[in-house]
Amino acid sequence: MSDVAAKPGEAPAAAPADKAPAKPALPARRRDLAPLLLLPVLALVALPLVGSLSTWATLTLSGLAMGMIIFIIASGLTLVFGLMNVLNFGHGAFISVGAYAAAVLAPALTGLMRADALALNLVALLALIALAMAVTAVIGYAFERAIIMPVYGQHLKQILVTVGGLIVAEQLIVAVFGPVQIPLLLPAAFRGSVIFGDVAIERYRLIAVVVGLAIFIAMLLVLNRTRIGLLIRAGVENGEMVEALGYHIRRLFVGVFMAGSALAGLGGVMWGFYREQLTPGMGMDVMVLVFIVVVIGGLGSVGGCFIGSLLVAVMANYTGFLAPKLALGSNILLMAAILLWRSRGLYPVTQR
């Protein structure tokens, strides 16, 4: 028997297969916009509490910048969670490794970094980012093969070995660079502030917002416009069925894991420049917020992760100003409130 079907039936004038042949006449899916309102509502509630409009604007914008960096870090983690149900507590290691990789290269680029030319500064920044992402992608590959693969499907062991991996990575950094802070200074053109009315905004925060938005848009394009993205979205929803359709989801997962690690490396560089200093534990410190973001957003949801990152960072900034002791607690409360409203996060994708 031939495995090639005869072309069955007569073909009426066929529409191209990738275009909609008919307009759907019935129930369009309702767009779920409620989570999009959370950030504006939070900002409006905070305005009278903060009092000063310029302070409020500064807090909000720096919150958005920090949120974008958290998003860059968390987006890879949420896909790893969603796609393979892997709890990777070692994700924080890539933040530190990325930042330290940049710090290693930075002295060699001092000339470019200090030059009074935006283009040269940009070249230096991009070189640091490229190195950090390449290093973390390669380490991510090794991490997946050596640490994640043996414990695939076993949550408790995943937590134990990935936390172990995080601790080992951190201690290796201490062994090589010492336990003290090391500086990571911004290129000349990105220092200082721009003034809008009586609101001063640090340039670097604007850059962080632009980079975060660019990553978000790029991820949406890849997820929604490419075949790889289609596979990732399907795999997050039902990995077994993707395999039954003939795709090796493990290979896809390794690719996503490497990309997620590289994004954490990028986030690490951005975070290092944000604080202009590095510590071996910087990855672990950010991971608390990153996990809150992943849970708030809904496992596997890039859109949810984006909104969650901005909410968490802006909330941390407002409470850091209003009641500094409550800064982290406020985010735990935010997570609890959102989970009471939507128990699987803002935009649940998986059934987990």
Binding site: M1, A15, N238
Partner: protein, 249 residues
């Protein structure tokens, strides 16, 4: 059957003494099954007899602890699921496995492994299941149960495959939709000479569609033969399937 009988006479799929364990449970206890090329074989049996486990074991979603699965001349017992699918087996699971967040179009695009969907084939699928054309751009999650089942079958047949494994296509469907399914499977078999193995609880559906039948009970095949013979033999039906004929005919 000897190997010397030639490809046409060799069953496309053969299970030899297949055992499958799921955790502590011994579900398949030596399944012997032959699916002849070009046949539409119905796999019948009571709830819990092991029908779904048989399909999942063929697909490699659960691995056999003993025995062998041979497909088109190859021993696929230990193969990974994607490799089994690539060998030419399409699978429609009992829960349909629809990607609810993906559109109808994306669900079909994903199933078309070798590239863009063939336009003629797409028109053919639309002629079988017009609802899919109507809801082409909608998220599959908003489809009704019957429409999801149509999409699941459409996804399996979007490209030619050698063998179709279909788990309870009539589950929870209205009679009109079942009639649609029957038409679709008949058309699939007639137009492409496909080999189809369908797990079914609905005896009337099985009777009107199948040419061969195998009946499972307690993790084994307890009867196999032609569907027409089983359809005639009411005593056998009653013994094998516990069918009350009055309620089915």
């Amino acid at each position: 059957m000897s190997d010397g009988d030639g490809a046409a006479a060799t069953p496309l799929l053969t299970l030899y003494g297949v055992n499958t364990h799921i955790g502590p449970y011994h579900i398949l206890q030596g399944v012997d099954l032959e699916v002849p090329r070009g046949s539409l074989t119905m796999l019948l049996g009571r709830n819990g007899a092991g029908k779904t486990t048989t399909l999942r074991t063929i697909m490699g979603l659960w691995h056999a602890s003993a025995g062998a699965v041979r497909f088109d001349g190859a021993d696929i017992t230990a193969w990974a699921t994607p490799d089994i699918a690539q060998a030419g087996i399409a699978y429609v699971p009992e829960n349909m496995g629809i990607f609810a967040d993906l559109t109808v179009r994306e669900n079909l695009l994903l199933a078309a492994r070798s590239g863009p969907i063939d336009e003629t084939r797409l028109r053919w699928i639309f002629s079988l299941f017009p609802a899919l054309e109507k809801f082409w751009s909608l998220a599959a999650g908003v489809l009704s149960g019957g429409q999801k089942q149509m999409l699941a079958v459409a996804r399996a047949i979007v490209e030619p495959r050698k063998l179709f494994l279909i788990d309870e296509p009539t589950k929870g469907l209205a009679p009109a939709v079942i009639a649609n399914m029957i038409a679709a499977f008949r058309e699939l078999k007639k137009s492409s000479g496909a080999t189809i193995l369908v797990v079914e609880q609905n005896f009337l559906f099985a009777k009107s569609l199948g040419d061969a039948v195998a009946v499972m009970d307690n993790g084994r095949i307890v009867h196999s033969g032609s569907m027409a013979a089983l359809a005639e033999d009411h005593d056998l039906q009653h013994r094998l399937l516990g069918l009350s004929l009055a309620s089915h005919q």
